[in-house]
Symmetry: C3
């Protein structure tokens, strides 16, 4: 997320009371989780395994738990607990507020849009023109809908990311300050959940159609004109390109990419990237033609084992 205005390295270090490395006037313009960083951002890292990734990401300030060599043109914030201090900064710049009105005074609704009874619209929610938001839909703060969007009953847009850091005796929650952005002409069924980004946007591309009971995790990017059947589950930080089809009850692990026009068949469990135009099936999912051969071969296996046992007898 962008800050409302730039801050200096010195100012930020003072907020979390930590040492820093680099020019004290080094400019900080945003806060982001590693998958979403852009120039000007702070990123945090607290495990040596990920130091390199963070230090060489697009982020220009790294909140880190060890004094390491600072890459040229960047700055470090050195903290004994980067996760805690990152959360502290998020809360400082995005203070927690809950609108207790069913439709927040700061929510905006476009011309021709129908907001049905029982709908909750949080702070700064923006709804475009000619939308229909069916009864009891909940849209959390800051989410943005384009024009001609239809959302069926009881769907929840913008709940928090499922993202925790394990401590010895508890899970610490990563504070989500991102949004959900839903582009024009999207229809979302009843009982879906689309979680907000941790620090960026979860996005549903124009013209995409989503059936009931679908889950889409934080920071996931869904392209244009995709189809998702009922009970599909997409984890966080997934990239789904244009024209992808996901059949019923399929599941997708975090951090994978589905190329343009890819198809994931019903109940498939995807743990790897799919190239554009390919069809995958099975759990764990593989290219469908190969998987169908496995299904056929497996049918012959009991008989084959019988034969082998008999001929060895």
């Amino acid at each position: 997320m962008k800050l409302a205005s730039p801050h200096t390295l010195k100012e930020i270090a003072a907020l979390i009371n930590c040492e820093f490395e680099g020019d004290e006037n080094h400019s900080i313009t945003g806060l982001n989780e590693i998958h979403m960083v852009v120039e000007g951002d702070i990123v945090f890292v607290d495990h040596p395994k990920y130091y390199d990734k963070a230090l060489h990401s697009k982020a220009t300030t790294v909140l880190i738990n060890k004094k390491v060599e600072c890459p040229k043109g960047k700055a470090l914030l050195i903290s004994d607990d980067p996760f805690r201090d990152y959360n502290k900064l998020v809360r400082h710049f995005y203070p927690l507020t809950y609108s207790l009105k069913q439709i927040s005074d700061s929510a905006k609704v476009g011309v021709g849009s129908v907001i049905m009874p029982g709908v909750y619209l949080g702070n700064n929610v923006s709804i475009g023109n000619n939308c229909v938001i069916h009864p009891n839909v909940v849209i959390y703060d800051d989410c943005v809908l384009g024009d001609n969007v239809i959302i069926h009953s009881n769907t929840v847009i913008g709940a928090d990311a499922f993202y925790y850091k394990k401590r010895a005796d508890k899970f610490d929650k990563m504070i989500s300050c991102g949004r959900v952005v839903i582009e024009d002409d999207v229809e979302i069924g009843a009982m879906c959940t689309i979680d907000k980004g941790v620090s960026g946007d979860t996005r549903i591309g124009a013209g995409t159609k989503i059936d009931n009971h679908v889950q889409i995790g934080h920071d996931t990017q869904v392209g244009k004109m995709c189809l998702m059947a009922s009970q599909v589950g997409v984890a966080g930080v997934v990239k789904i390109e244009d024209g992808v089809t996901l059949w019923g009850q399929a599941g997708i692990r975090s951090d994978v990419t589905l190329g343009k026009g890819a198809v994931l068949l019903a109940q498939a469990g995807l743990g790897e990237d799919i190239a554009a135009g390919k069809t995958y099936f099975g759990s764990p999912a593989g290219e469908a033609r190969g998987k169908m051969k496995e299904v056929a071969a497996l049918k012959m296996l009991p008989e084959l084992i019988n034969k082998i046992n008999t001929s060895n007898a």
Copy 2:
């Protein structure tokens, strides 16, 4: 769906500004999707692959994109875009209206029924006697519940069918004008979705019991005294006969039939018909006894491959 009163072929052709074949006084009494057609109906077809099915269905008027030979006693409406014109007719006869009251003035509730807070009842909803509708349930327009029906919180009855026509640059939505009919003594868990029929009824038979998070697609027919465990997903246009049991997380493809007393085990993915009394398992699902043999054989396979590799070495 039946029209409120019959119309002539000539009148209907004028509404969508298209040519026709057949007696101009030929009577039209309804509009239906191909799976649901009865005599007097218009059905639409726009792909040569399905011409025969449409022309020889029970529908007596066919809205089609080519001048073909008209079957005896029937009539044709010839349109460059039957899908668009079918939707135009649906909207003409069933104009879009949204009740913005939490309980529509035209909704009816029987004697002894309890409607809990936050429930939404759309236009013409009809609830029988001695029902309990738990908080925040949403029932869309025109749905009908019998007596002694219990619906747990946040369930959505009658959302639109997930049914689109793919165009070059968008998905066109098929307008749903059907209903959900829930017979006597049905209990439906929390967080379920039962979609309305495209042009007919989605039906849940008397005495059937459904657990939480279950999805039932448009135009699906569920028999009497069925059981569905949590997170079951049933696509559209499925026929489930009496006494069928579906275990947790099982999924069913559109347009299949489950015979009387059939059983689908947990997480099974059904893509074909099940005969009465049979038990199926696996994804893709097959008869359970055979599938269990496959599971057992697969357990032996790694060792078998080892042996073969060793003996070939």
Copy 3:
């Protein structure tokens, strides 16, 4: 469930108009389903297969459909329909009431807790301090939440158990009189369902974090600091010990135990116990290392069958 005050065997027999065996002053202090019984309880049994289990359970009064030998220190209630009479007792001691106020007058909310619009809190619901209950959450009667609990939108806590007795022409519902107890520092995502216990408590242990669309059945016990990813389904009467992780879309059959720190991978279907620290995978699920070997072997199977067929030709 404990009765408000103890009753004698004679009093209870009069309520359901049945014979009894044992001291007429034998004390009855509670009513419980077989999985939850403690000393002083009535348990019911109506199938000879389960007589022994019921007679030798911790329950000290057995509502049974045959005059059998009464274990020492216990008592019998002899009924032609123990299921019906058990339900009659439940309704007598826990009469059906529905609060028609959005937040019942008997609901209690702790200091610093935020109850968002559209939330329903039933009779005797108790919410601790510093909780956040997001819009349109529904909490049924008698459920108890600790401190610092967060519940995201549209989640339903405390709906009835999915528990029926099959009769010739209907399913008879087992009346649930239990609760859901959610301990401190639990976070539950949007669109989850946690059913109440039939006669005891469904419990979510302190510090556990649950993602969206998760189902937890009646009387299930979840330990401390567990993680459940989206769309997990846990049946009734499951025991999940501390530190267990369930990945997305995994399902668990009723009445199994997952030992401390066990892991169930995505889409796994568990039908048996998992020992502490073990990782399971597959449907039906087995120890992950073995299952991964099966996956690898299955990939080789089509080629192997080709070879065998060729060499036999």
